[in-house]
């Protein structure tokens, strides 16, 4: 069976993480910010799976399961907050949430 260099998998995870980070930093639509957070979490999970493949263990897959659970809980709460925000401000622009600045 052919082999894959382990750094290529980790580099792919790093690229996906950076794209997600750019999305979080640049978008002003809160739904896109939440989607970019999902991209970053998924990149973290990919790094765990690459680690699991490197050592041939199942522990990396268990960490990925924990990440997927965290992502599901985070998305549920985040989307609830988005619905509440849209109800209150009638927009998805995150800049309207700057009322607390001094």
């Amino acid at each position: 069976m052919e082999s894959i260099p382990v750094e290529h998998g980790l580099i792919l995870a790093a690229i996906l993480f950076s794209i997600g980070l750019i999305g979080v930093l640049t978008r002003r639509n809160i739904v896109f910010v939440l989607m970019s957070l999902e991209i970053m979490l998924n990149a973290g999970g990919l790094a765990f799976i690459v680690g699991a493949a490197r050592w041939g263990h199942a522990e990396g897959q268990i960490m990925f399961l924990m990440i997927i659970t965290l992502a599901a809980a985070e998305v549920a709460v985040g989307l609830g907050l988005i619905i509440q925000m849209f109800r209150r401000y009638k927009t998805v622009d995150i800049n309207v949430l700057s009322e607390m600045k001094g």
Partner: protein
């Protein structure tokens, strides 16, 4: 198998770039589903079929459908799309992209020192579940409590007063 890894990786990167460049939320969501399915293929190639199935069912299935429901409830029209196009100006893009590129460069520098070729071997459902319900059973219980807390919080937050 090795070609599948690089093809799926290229699709994942292209689809993820397309996600953060979209002005229409639904198009962005569809690209995100494509990206997640490509990552699921990578999981399978790396010998983690259980994680690949979970990625397709839980991520690309359940979580993305949740997004779709909320986008339907928000009911954003043409107005938001035009607004989105104004927000996507190059001025706002450059500084964060440079910062993220610097971070990526640092990560690549660290990762380039690794030199190991992995031969993917299948670690199936049986090995994972034996660990999941053996030494990691407390983590499973904590995950269930986290999901319950997320459920209660989402119900409370989205409730109409």
């Amino acid at each position: 198998m090795i070609a599948l890894f690089y093809i799926a990786g290229a699709i994942a990167v292209i689809a993820t770039v397309a996600v953060i460049l979209q002005t229409n939320i639904v198009h962005g969501l569809l690209y995100l589903i494509l990206s997640l399915l490509a990552v699921a293929v990578i999981f399978y190639v790396l010998g983690a079929p259980f994680a690949a199935v979970l990625e397709a069912i839980v991520y690309a299935g359940a979580i993305m459908v949740l997004f779709l429901f909320v986008i339907m409830m928000l009911n954003l029209g043409q107005h938001t799309r035009d607004q989105e196009r104004d927000w996507l100006s190059p001025r706002g893009w450059i500084a964060p992209s440079i910062m993220a590129a610097i971070l990526l460069g640092q990560l690549l520098t660290v990762l380039s020192s690794i030199d190991y070729d992995l031969v993917p071997e299948q670690v199936g459902v049986m090995e994972v579940s034996a660990l999941l319900f053996g030494p990691y059973v407390l983590a499973v219980e904590l995950a269930s409590i986290l999901l319950l807390a997320g459920l209660v919080a989402a119900y409370h937050l989205a409730k109409t007063k």
